[in-house]
Each structure stands twice: as structure tokens, then as C-alpha cells.
């Protein structure tokens, strides 16, 4: 039995609308709650801006870093991590996809194993490594913005995040490189390009969707990371605190949790992700909409 065109479309919409509605409902609640003194379901029992006061005053006292400092930390950590992951993955993936060298196969399976490896088991060894790095002058803990690459620095956390993200990134990028025709690369070599130039001028522009996808994934992973920043920084009170740790301030044992404020911070944490997503998604859509068809 085949449904007529119209009712089939309606069915498809229904299937899409129901789960979307649930998600939208959640965000709606988050939004309303963050501007209310109290709520009853989706109904506000009085509007207020007090939940957002963390933006201009520190609710926990001067020994805790402000929201803006924490946001900057998170942004630096996420961008640095994303940048390194994209650059390293795409170079590694190019080599793995296009070049013959001894150990290529084992390298590939190793990355796959690493990706599947439970990262929790590595936390303690990495802790000791970072402590050791901290003792190196300058790169250990003397770099502006990043702090350094050691324990309790943004750079150190970013580096650990990179290590965990790389296997995934390499596999994603390798898939994209594998899909680019050899002829294009050979043609560029005959035209006089070096291998590096081929990678940069011919291959990279043609895997923009891959770069965009990996950027989104990496950025969101870093932005929402909790376990790794918690383990390798001094926590929510430290100078290297990130947003996910900041949120923890509100959920303490001693006082009643202020859910309205938690909602506000949660919403605040969401904003950059949405912006970043819109920005990269534009690239994705442009590529697919631009039509790569036609057997080029």
C-alpha cells in the first residue's frame, strides 16, 4: 500500500515535529526559568533579571574568578584545541590517505584503538605528566592567556583534549581525503606544485565540509568538557576554571541550589556554541549548495 504524496509528507513532518517539539520545550523552559523568580511548569510566577546578575557581579566572593574570565578561558581553550585538532588531523590524514610509508597500516589501526580506549584510565598518568611539564620554565606555566602547558593551565587542558580528540579527527579527515580523486593531485604535481602546496592549495579547499564538521565537533567537545578540566585544573576556584566548572559553583552541598541561576548560566554557555555552529554550518551549506556534481 502506498500513501498519497500529501499524507506521506504529513507523516514525515509528524515524525520530525514530535521529537523536535520536546527539545524546543526544554529550551523554552530554560529560557523562561532564567528570567523568573519561580516557575510552575512553563508559567512564570514573576519576572526578574536577578538570575543573570552573575554577569556584572560575582555571586561567590572575590576569591572566585568572574564569569568573563572563565568565559575567556573556555573560549581560548576551545579555539586552541579546535585549531590544533584541525591542522594536525588534516596533515596526518593527508599523509595516511596519500602517501606510502612503513608503519602506515599499524598507525591507522593504532589511532582506531586509541579512539576506542577509555580515557578515564589515562587520567592519573596524564596528571603526573602535566605536573612534570609544569616544572619546565616558561612553557610549563609562564605563557600569557594559555597559562602554559602544565598542570592547572588552559594550554595543558587544551593539549590533553587535543590528544583525546585526534584519533577521531584523523579518521574523519582521512575519509574526506580518500574521496578526492588522485588525478587532481597528480595534475597539480605535473603543474609544478610541491606536496605541501598540493595539500594546502588543492586538497584543503576541497574538503571544507570536512573541516567545518570537525571544527564543530571539536569546538563543542571542548566547550562542554567537564572531566578533563576538572582533573587537570585547580577546579572552579582556580584561575584556569572553565564554564562547566563555573556551573558547579551553584550546585554546592551547603546552600540550596538556585535552579533559576543555573538555567541562566546554562543559557549563557549555550550562546557561543550556537554562534559557532551557525558560522561553520554556513560553510557546510555553501559547499553542498554550490554543486560539486558534474564529475569534476
Amino acid at each position: 500500500m502506498r500513501l498519497p504524496q500529501k499524507s506521506r509528507a504529513a507523516l514525515a513532518y509528524l515524525v520530525l515535529i514530535v521529537p523536535s517539539a520536546l527539545i524546543v520545550l526544554g529550551f523554552l523552559w530554560l529560557f523562561i526559568t532564567s528570567f523568573s523568580t519561580r516557575t510552575e511548569g512553563l508559567r512564570s510566577l514573576g519576572w526578574t533579571l536577578r538570575n543573570w546578575s552573575f554577569l556584572w557581579e560575582s555571586p561567590f566572593g572575590p576569591q572566585y574568578p568572574s564569569i568573563w574570565w572563565v568565559t575567556l578561558n573556555t573560549l581560548v581553550m576551545s579555539l586552541v584545541m579546535t585549531l590544533i585538532v584541525v591542522v594536525v588531523s588534516s596533515m596526518t590524514a593527508y599523509a595516511l590517505s596519500r602517501m606510502k610509508f612503513t608503519g602506515r597500516k599499524s598507525f591507522l589501526s593504532l589511532t582506531l584503538i586509541l579512539h576506542a580506549f577509555p580515557s578515564v584510565t589515562l587520567l592519573i598518568p596524564i596528571y603526573f605528566v602535566l605536573i612534570w611539564v609544569s616544572k619546565i620554565p616558561v612553557i610549563g606555566r609562564g605563557v600569557p592567556l594559555l597559562g602554559g602547558l602544565g598542570y592547572n593551565t588552559i594550554g595543558g587542558v587544551a593539549l590533553v583534549m587535543v590528544a583525546f580528540q585526534l584519533p577521531f579527527g584523523i579518521w574523519v579527515m582521512k575519509g574526506f581525503f580518500d574521496n578526492i580523486s588522485w588525478d587532481m593531485e597528480r595534475s597539480a604535481l605535473i603543474d609544478g606544485a610541491s606536496r605541501f602546496r598540493v595539500w594546502w592549495q588543492i586538497m584543503m579547499p576541497n574538503i571544507k565540509p570536512g573541516i567545518a564538521a570537525l571544527s564543530i565537533f571539536s569546538f563543542i567537545t571542548a566547550w562542554n568538557a567537564y572531566l578533563i578540566p576538572l582533573t587537570f585544573t585547580a577546579g572552579r576556584a582556580g584561575k584556569s576554571a572553565v564554564l562547566s566548572l563555573y556551573l558547579q559553583n551553584f550546585i554546592s552541598e551547603s546552600v540550596m541550589t538556585e535552579w533559576n541561576a543555573v538555567a541562566a548560566v546554562g543559557l549563557f554557555q549555550l550562546i557561543p556554541v550556537v554562534i559557532f555552529f551557525l558560522f561553520t554550518q554556513q560553510v557546510l551549506l555553501n559547499i553542498y549548495g554550490g554543486g560539486k556534481k558534474g564529475g569534476v
Binding site: 588525478d183 605535473i190 603543474d191 588543492i202 576541497n206 560539486k292 569534476v296
Partner: protein
């Protein structure tokens, strides 16, 4: 520039893509590499271009061994089977890319791109992206990009295979003319024998990595060295008939259950000398058989295909099918009894075992 291959081999693991190839492409010559799919044609081109390194043997440009010269130092232009245009660049940037890499000044680049684009008839399309071009236009862009370097060797890998039939015939003559005008040594890969015969000065027929024959189109068509070449060249293909060579009181006869042909003495002698057994294959092209209703070898019409200029008649001779060209005025219906006459000057004879031609002098 002259290209010489000496004992050239290329292995991919256990696959012998090219095996002991010896060939000489003269300066300014237009040579076609002809062979079925997967016979190693592209591999040969990529070795000339320097993308693949030969497993064994040598490639010379003039007197110089270039096995280890990198692609960019070989002064080569190449058009790929897939055209391999850079989809993210405009047509202008595609064509200008080789010059950009050589750091040619902007102004000169612009002039040269415009000139070669005008020559190829794509001067108006410079701002477009490859995806916005038709197959024929893409092919011209690829050719322009290969030519802008003013290469000393031009390599073309089935450049016409993605075009429709009409455009292909047009580009065939245009490419031939262009090559003659520019005088660039050109190696052209194709699996279309008509393309090879019509365009090239010399054709190298390759099969499963081996060079079968290297000669001019005429020679290839009329004096194929072996069974493969005879069968591969010509459309509709040559007719093969299994016969045995017999000698009775000084006369040479080709015989099987359905026919008996007397050979001229010198042909018979040659065949007898060269053959390893009396079992041989007779080859004759469809245009070298005449069909009539009065006298000749007795056959029966199987099917009639009008081709416009003439008609192609398939007849049944015993178990084998024979194709014959007849003039359009010839009327025949399926099942009619007709008679064939072979033009004995044009027949070819092949040894069944070695598959070599029996009529060529041994070399």
C-alpha cells in the same frame, strides 16, 4: 623531444601493469597507445609524467634518462581522463595555476591565459567554475591548462571519452590539427581503435602490459602482426575462419567442411614455412568479401543491417558467422542462399598456437 622506453616494467605487487616495453616516440610525433581497459595505458603515461617510478627499465627524453626526475621538471602537459580540473578555482585560475607556481608576473599570466583560452575557444568562460561548464568545455580547459606551460611533451589520457559522439568527432580533427600546428611530441591514450587510427601518426597496440605492435595506421590495419591486433582493429571486426592448410600436387589449399580456397603459390609457401602445424586461422575483413547470388562459397543469410552508405550482411558459414559489406542495392532476406567471394590479396593467416601472422617475414 624524443621519448624512448627501454625494457620498461611497472609492477603493482603481483600485477604486471607494464611488462618489458620497448618503444620510440619521435620528436613531434603523434603516437596513440591503444588497448582494452586495464591493459596499462594510463600507467605508461603516468611513468612518462613522473608520477609513477618504473619498476625496471629506463625512460629517455632525447638522450637523457629521466627515471628520477620529478614531474615538475619534465616540461610535460597532461590532460587526464577525468580532466582533473580544480573545482574550487575559476577557469582562469585553473589555466593560470602552472604559471602561478612558476611565479610568472601577473600581467604576462593574464595575456598568456587569454591567448591560450582564445585558441581553445573558451575565452568567454574564464570567470566560471568548472562545475558550470559542459563536458566539452571542461575538456578544453584541461587542454588549455596543459598547453599554457608550452610543454615539450603532451600526454592525453582518453581526453575524448567523456564527450558525446558528435563532439568527439569534431574534437578528433581539432586535436589532430592542433598537434600538427604546435608540433609537440604527443602521446595519446585511447581504447577506441577508430580514434587511434584517425588521429595518430603511429599506433602502439598494448594488451595486458605487452606491446603487440607499433606501426602506422595503414600497416596496423592491413598487416597486423598477430591475432589480437587483427581482432582489435577494425569495426565491424575482422572475420576469423578455422581452416587447415593442405598441399596437393604443388597447390596450396585452405580447407574446412564448408569451404575450399586455393592460395597463391608464394603466400602458400610463406604460410607453410612459418606455421607450426596445419591448423590455422584465416582472417578476412568484411569489406574484402563480395556477396552475390551466382557463384562462390555457399552460405545462408542470418541477418541484414543497413548502415546507410552500405549494408552489413551477416551470413552463416557452417558454425561460424561472417560479416560482409554489400552495396545498398543488394537485396537479401533472412534465410536466402547467397554466395561469397574472398579477395585473396587481402586475406590474413595466423598460426593457431602462437597466434602470430604467417604472412609477415620473420624478424
Amino acid at each position: 623531444m624524443k621519448i624512448v622506453f627501454k625494457h620498461l616494467c611497472k609492477y603493482f605487487g603481483r600485477v604486471k601493469a607494464v611488462d618489458n616495453l620497448n618503444l620510440e616516440v619521435g620528436d613531434g610525433e603523434f603516437v596513440a597507445l591503444l588497448g582494452p581497459s586495464g591493459c596499462g595505458k594510463t600507467t605508461i603515461l603516468l611513468m612518462i609524467a613522473g608520477i609513477y617510478k618504473p619498476s625496471k627499465g629506463f625512460i629517455y627524453f632525447d638522450q637523457r634518462v629521466i627515471n628520477d626526475v620529478s614531474p615538475k621538471d619534465r616540461k610535460i602537459g597532461m590532460v587526464f581522463q577525468s580532466y582533473a580540473l580544480y573545482p574550487h578555482m575559476t577557469v582562469f585560475n585553473n589555466i593560470a595555476y602552472p604559471l602561478k607556481l612558476k611565479k610568472v608576473p601577473r600581467k604576462e599570466t593574464k595575456e598568456r591565459v587569454q591567448k591560450v583560452a582564445d585558441m581553445m575557444g573558451i575565452g568567454e568562460l574564464l570567470d566560471r567554475k568548472p562545475a558550470q561548464l559542459s563536458g566539452g568545455q571542461q575538456q578544453r580547459v584541461a587542454l588549455a591548462r596543459a598547453l599554457i606551460k608550452e610543454p615539450e611533451i603532451l600526454l592525453l589520457d582518453e581526453p575524448l571519452s567523456n564527450l558525446d559522439a558528435r563532439l568527439r568527432i569534431m574534437m578528433r580533427s581539432e586535436l589532430k590539427r592542433l598537434q600538427k600546428d604546435l608540433g609537440i611530441t604527443t602521446v595519446f591514450v585511447t581504447h577506441d581503435q577508430l580514434e587511434a587510427l584517425t588521429m595518430a601518426d603511429k599506433v602502439a597496440v598494448v594488451n595486458s602490459g605487452y606491446l603487440q605492435q607499433f606501426s602506422g595506421p595503414d600497416e596496423l590495419y592491413n598487416h597486423p602482426k598477430n591475432l589480437f591486433v587483427a581482432g582489435f582493429i577494425g569495426s565491424p571486426p575482422i572475420n576469423f575462419i578455422s581452416v587447415s592448410l593442405q598441399k596437393s600436387d604443388g597447390r596450396f589449399l585452405l580447407k574446412n567442411r564448408d569451404l575450399q580456397i586455393e592460395l597463391a603459390k608464394e603466400i602458400g609457401l610463406k604460410a607453410e614455412n612459418n606455421s607450426t602445424s596445419s591448423e590455422i586461422l584465416l582472417g578476412i575483413r568484411p569489406e574484402h568479401i563480395t556477396i552475390n547470388k551466382k557463384e562462390g562459397i555457399e552460405t545462408e543469410v542470418y541477418v541484414v543491417e543497413p548502415l546507410g552508405r552500405d549494408i552489413l550482411v551477416s551470413v552463416k558459414l557452417g558454425k561460424s558467422m561472417i560479416k560482409v559489406f554489400a552495396s545498398p542495392s543488394f537485396k537479401a532476406n533472412i534465410g536466402d542462399r547467397v554466395k561469397l567471394n574472398f579477395n585473396l590479396d587481402k586475406i590474413m593467416l595466423f598460426d593457431k598456437k602462437s597466434e602470430k601472422s604467417l604472412l609477415l617475414d620473420k624478424d
